[in-house]
């Protein structure tokens, strides 16, 4: 109902999510937290590591895309920063693992 008001103030809310979608994302984060705690309780051992870190990755993507507005970001340089940081991290982790495992 405040669509007109927000259009007049482009600085404050540049095409961001609606109030309801923020609450929906919060709900999804809570459900995912409950899921990851439940999965950890099943004693799945090695699979639990993959599932728990996978859920953590999904949760942080939700925070990045919706709470942090990365999905609505229109500046290319800002859009690229996080993939670059994660890519650099993947190289560090990949190289270190390949060294340690093959010793």
């Amino acid at each position: 109902m405040n669509a007109d008001a927000s259009r007049e103030m482009p600085d404050a809310r540049p095409h961001g999510p609606t109030t309801r979608s923020y609450v929906a994302v919060w709900g999804a984060l809570i459900v995912l937290t409950a899921t990851t705690v439940a999965v950890a309780g099943f004693n799945l051992q090695k699979i639990a590591i993959i599932v728990c870190l996978g859920i953590a990755a999904v949760k942080s993507t939700l925070v990045l895309f919706y709470f942090m507005h990365l999905r609505y970001e229109h500046r290319l340089i800002i859009k690229l920063l996080i993939p670059i940081a994660i890519g650099a991290l993947a190289i560090f982790i990949g190289l270190t693992f390949s060294d340690v495992i093959t010793r």
Partner: protein
């Protein structure tokens, strides 16, 4: 693109650059944790069983809720509802204090059991458990410092919103503080399974 939007984007770029460096900082510690875990799986298993999963889950819910509060504070400001925005910032700060209080009880319990670096009880345990608790205190401690800094930053934002120096037309400070606070949440999203859930 007007000048104001350019200035806003420049500020956003700065905070995202900072967030990138934080990802590398904590990423390095995650890597350290993974390598030690690979070398000492049994000791890390024993260590993680010592942690209180209920308190860890509670703190996860507190931080996720605080993230929602700061997002709603920016949302309210954008709609011109400054008063409501200030309440949401205050709620975020309250959640941050709640997180630290839970953390205080958690650490106090560990200290009582002699599970802190250089304690006699911990030194008598295997080397891997010492590594586990060393990393536990380092990583959750560094995250705790970020929470304390967040309380300071958000308090300044609360005062600024109330004084009217953060307005719907000029929300950059609040937006960027919000981005920092979401980062603190994201770091915990990874710390929680790493220390409390994976056994």
């Amino acid at each position: 693109m007007n000048a104001s939007e350019d200035a806003h984007a420049a500020g956003r770029l700065g905070i995202w650059l900072f967030i990138s460096t934080e990802i590398i900082l904590f990423g390095g510690l995650f890597l350290l944790y993974s390598m030690y875990r690979l070398k000492n799986p049994a000791d890390f298993h024993a260590g993680s069983l010592e942690l209180n999963r209920v308190l860890g889950t509670l703190n996860t819910v507190i931080l996720i809720t605080s993230s929602l509060c700061v997002a709603l504070a920016i949302d309210s400001l954008g709609k011109g509802r400054t008063r409501k925005s200030a309440w949401f910032v205050a709620a975020t700060i309250a959640c941050a204090f709640g997180f630290l209080i839970v953390k205080f009880f958690e650490w106090t319990a560990k200290f009582h059991h002699g599970l802190y670096p250089n304690a006699k009880v911990l030194l008598s345990l295997p080397k891997g458990e010492n590594l586990f608790f060393g990393l536990y205190y380092l990583m959750t401690g560094l995250h705790g410092v970020h929470v304390i800094v967040g309380i300071g930053v958000l308090s300044v934002m609360l005062v600024r919103v109330l004084r009217g120096t953060i307005t719907p037309q000029n929300p950059t400070y609040l937006v960027n503080s919000g981005l920092y606070w979401h980062l603190v949440d994201i770091i915990w999203i990874f710390l929680f399974p790493l220390f409390y859930l994976i056994t």
